[in-house]
Symmetry: C2
Subunit: 125 residues, 2 copies
């Protein structure tokens, strides 16, 4: 049996600054380099101001044959975008493709490891 293809989709806010969106795409490349075969696809999408948006990002992965997608909100604060907007966009695509396993993770700021990361960068000063 062939293992179903899995994808990681990093969802960022999106910015009017091209360099800020580029930072997100570079991070996606770094994720791919570091994660290797953990996922078959690594992609990014943006809530606003930059393409692809979340539905397009998810749909493109589904079109590639991906059957399982982990969505990571690249946000530090549990504001309206994290609590309402991103879940609503994901839900819209999930309803259209009920056979695809889409899992929306908590936002990055909720990760246990954030404090260690901050202490690490602060101690090398």
């Amino acid at each position: 049996m062939i293992k179903p293809a899995r994808a990681l989709l990093l969802v960022a806010h999106g910015s009017r600054r091209a360099s800020s969106n580029e930072e997100v795409r570079c991070l996606t490349t770094r994720l791919q380099q570091a994660g290797g075969h953990q996922f078959d696809y690594y992609a990014s999408a943006f809530l606003e101001l930059e393409a692809p948006d979340i539905p397009d990002g998810l749909t493109q992965l589904i079109a590639e044959g991906v059957q399982s997608i982990v969505v990571v909100p690249y946000f530090l604060a549990a504001g309206r975008h994290v609590v309402e907007d991103i879940p609503a966009e994901v839900e819209r695509v999930q309803k259209k493709y009920p056979h695809i396993d889409i899992q929306l993770l908590p936002h990055l700021g909720a990760a246990e490891g954030i404090s260690s990361l901050i202490l690490n960068i602060a101690q090398n000063t």
Copy 2:
């Protein structure tokens, strides 16, 4: 000789949502618990919408007798806030207290460890 007192100041954007600002204060407490004696003080300040603002946050630490402050911008993207606003606020206080060592670190999104953190939360799914 007494070792000069050091502080870590976490600088977040600030939100209209009280829960979002509270998340930042909770993180500061977690930093204190995890970092222990790495710093003598752990505090947070906000760029806007919540007190203390950055000058107040820095000045309060200086009033406590802190001589060295590491400022960590709790931001993922190098937007205007990170590139212009935070450095300007820090510089304003630095000019007023030239004998205090204030070190502004790169924003959290620039940290090498961000990709490992994302892969960690994504692989436990």
